[in-house]
């Protein structure tokens, strides 16, 4: 695969510690397009070794708006089904720039392992020194050892190591969109995590046409419904919960966006310093980056203050556990105090509500944000729309939250971008086929 791609699939056998590469064939892309379309195919190919598959879309890491998505595909301990969870911030982009479109991780490592993917090289090394350490300590340790603060990490904390069904694969220091407990799969493989860094490039077939089209889309987005808004508070407000935004507001320090995503879906709150501070903070970790909606919402419902809820989410991120699951199960167990909730992390059990069909992570709200996409208020119509919208985002590599707030990013525009970028004639029929296959 020559364009919009590194052309490489990395196969990692943790048991033998063998690392091999395969070419990403044009035929595979022509039939399965990319992202979840191909991670599912690779999962099935290596199914007998219970793999975890990471992947990017053809648009991931490009100038196409919202091109921040990577996908983790594995069997969910929560649903028992093959599921797809997102990873965003800069991690997906870094995977692609590090030289691989897809990574198949199979087998179980004898000892705790760290997979370091950089510039087309993959090294498996010992992770005994960080096994037992939390997500923050581990990311700090790896970045220090490897000498670069821009290294992106996908990793587990104690939750994943101990086999919690609600263990997340975290991104750097923060919660990811993993609501399917895929962190448990890392733990079962004794894979503490993955470091990603690369300075690679990829080619675009019609670079000028591709960039022009992306700029046109950006221009349209600037007059779209999400334009001028930013932060997680605005998403709550758009979902009919402006009181959550107001509840959080006094802690907000800044908002930040994932790679090339025109809406800042992440909000950084200050917990230990004045949120109005504009100069460098005095402490290393003055606060917490909120990267998901439902944990905070659930903790508010329990009755915690905004500050207590954010501190608890910070503890969830360090422990590597799904904050939304923690909130829901704590409410069911009638836990109301943040200390007792935190002490329950290790023994957290029960079933959680996961909207949707269990294929794509319901980290992204099931419904449109800011714009109505022309949908009626019929719930089944909305759910069907959401499943398809998520499938499209996971296939092409578009931020799932941004996908449900931007009707400008049509399926046709994504197909057109792929045509311009690759010179491959991938049509709606192929896309429909891949979506149908993902839906099972």
């Amino acid at each position: 695969m020559e364009y919009l791609s590194t052309g490489k699939i990395l196969i990692v056998d943790l048991e033998t510690r063998e690392v091999t590469e395969e070419e990403l064939a044009d035929d595979l892309v022509a039939g399965r397009i990319g992202g979840a379309g191909i991670t599912k195919h690779l999962y099935e190919q290596h199914e007998e070794r219970d793999p975890v598959v990471l992947g990017t879309g053809l648009l991931t890491g490009t100038l196409y708006p919202g091109s921040a998505l990577g996908v983790v595909t594995a069997k969910s301990p929560v649903t028992g089904n093959l599921s797809h969870s997102p990873f965003t911030l800069d991690a997906a982009v870094e995977l692609k720039y590090a030289g691989f479109d897809y990574v198949v991780i199979k087998g179980v490592s004898e000892k705790p392992a760290f997979l370091w993917i950089h510039d087309g090289i993959a090294d498996i090394s010992d992770a005994a020194d960080v096994w037992g350490k939390d997500v923050w300590e581990t990311t700090n340790a790896w970045r220090k050892t490897l000498g670069d603060d821009l290294i992106q990490t996908l990793l587990i904390g104690p939750a994943g190591e101990s086999g919690s069904d609600f263990a997340q694969i975290c991104v750097n220091y923060w919660a990811s969109g993993d609501r399917f407990g895929l962190g448990k799969r890392f733990g079962q493989k004794r894979l503490k995590g993955i470091g990603l860094r690369g300075m690679g490039l990829f080619e675009i077939a019609d670079a000028e046409g591709f960039v022009d089209r992306c700029l046109e889309l950006l221009t349209q987005l600037k007059s779209g419904a999400a334009s001028g808004k930013k932060g997680i508070g605005e998403i709550y407000a758009a979902l009919g919960m402006p009181e959550v935004r107001d509840w959080l507001n006094s802690l907000v320090h800044r908002h930040s966006a994932c790679f090339n995503t025109p809406f800042a879906t992440n909000t950084y709150v200050y917990l230990d310093e004045d949120p109005k501070r504009l100069t460098e903070p005095e402490t290393d970790d003055p606060g917490f980056k909120i990267t998901e909606l439902f944990g905070l919402l659930g903790l508010k419902k329990i009755g915690l203050s905004a500050e207590a809820a954010c501190r608890l989410l910070k503890a969830c991120a360090r422990y590597g556990i799904d904050g939304a699951a923690v909130a829901e199960l704590s409410e069911k167990a009638d836990l109301k105090e943040s200390g007792e909730i935190e002490r329950s992390f290790a023994s957290l059990t029960g079933s959680v509500t996961l909207p949707g069909k269990g294929i794509f992570s319901p980290w992204c709200p099931v419904g449109p944000i800011f714009s109505d996409f022309g949908l009626s208020r019929d719930a089944s119509e909305t759910e069907a729309w959401w499943e398809r919208r998520q499938a499209v985002a996971y296939i092409f590599g578009i931020h799932p939250l941004f996908a449900v707030m931007s009707p400008e990013l049509t399926e046709e525009s994504m197909l057109e971008a792929v045509r311009l970028g690759t010179e491959m004639e991938i049509g709606r029929e192929t896309l429909d086929g891949v979506i149908a296959d993902l839906a099972g």
């Binding site: 950089h118 087309g120 090294d123 220090k144 490897l146 000498g147 821009l150 290294i151 690369g198 300075m199």
Partner: protein, 438 residues
Amino acid sequence: LLYHGAMNHFEQVAAINAALARGDTLFCLPGDAGLTPCSPREKGARPLFYPRIGIYAGSGTSHSWLWYADLFDRMGFYDLAFFDESAVEKRGLTDLDVLVVSGGDTFAVAEGLGPAGASSLRVFVGRGGLYIGSCAGAYLPMSSSKNPLHLFNCVNVKVKNLSRVLPEAVRMSHKFYSAYGCDFIFHPVREEVTVRTRGIPPFQGSKKLLAPLYGGPSMWAGENAEVLAHYEGFTNKTVFLVDRSLAEEILLGSAAVVRQGMGAGYFYLFGPHFEHPHFPEANKRIAETILWHTGKGSRPSEKGLEILEGKISAGFVRDLKRELSNSRIVAAGMEMMPLRWKIGDKLYEPEKIRVFLDAMWKRIEKLEKRDRIVAQGAQVSQAVRDGVATTGILRRIKGEIEEGHETLSTATELFVHLRKFSSTFLEIYFKTLAEGRT
């Protein structure tokens, strides 16, 4: 027959070198378009020979010797050897046709080479070798009474940009001068200047050329020294470090390229960096100088060459790639830090680290595509060791910076390693290319 119209300078010279390396017999004449292959029967036809070139990459050098490696790579001069001062002492220069010495700290280069190096250099040129020095490499063999430059008194040239009292710097005061005994060498301008050739072969015709000046000399040629080109003017890319009228006084009309014979050989001194990769016309003059002066020397065949094939070759290249990637990642992160080290007489910014690493990185893909890698026996393990050590030092320096420690001594160690690593890597690279051509 060697050329076709669509070929650029680099391809033309590479075609000549490929033919010479095959053992073809070629003759040339100097023409308006440079050296042109001709029939041996033509009047003045000069036979061409494939040169063995040494690049000095030892103490005192900065990174500009890598520009020579780029030039030789693009022009098909693959028979290269990389020397530091100990290699000059051990191996001597006798099996070379050409020695190039580029920029850096002239005093440190002279000190590193010492009396033994100076003696080797004299013997080398006296026996017919060609010395090409640019910038610091041009200052090195000039007449001087200053210790240790006095060891190299080979070329009757004086420096015009020398002053007892420093003029006022209008910008970049940190890169504006270097001490020269009780005097100062000051640099009136940096970046692009124009020079004009004087029609003395191999610099045929009166041609205007562009080349960059980064501290190189403005020269007065004495007896026996020929001026091949003089500084003619400035461009809109010239950066003035002193008042423009003083820069004009110091540079314009003064010698930019000087040649002087010694015994059977020649010294060529270039004030500007004719080897800089952005100046193809100037690059071509370097190539033509080499081809013009290379005679049929005796070439002892290299002994102890090791050929790696198959998985061993792929594994070796992968090991190098791993360490280069690890090093580049740390180095790139350091480029955002406000750092600068003064090592000897030269200032080094973190960006310089990647100049060395990228000189190797950009060649890795070519090595990955080769089935066979050629190296001197010890070079294979040495290159990997150097790579691991370079990554280790970079990670150490990053840690020291973060902890607020002084980093000068680690940075000094780092640049020594970078020179060693890139020298070994490039030797392997060029040996592999040469073997591939045969």
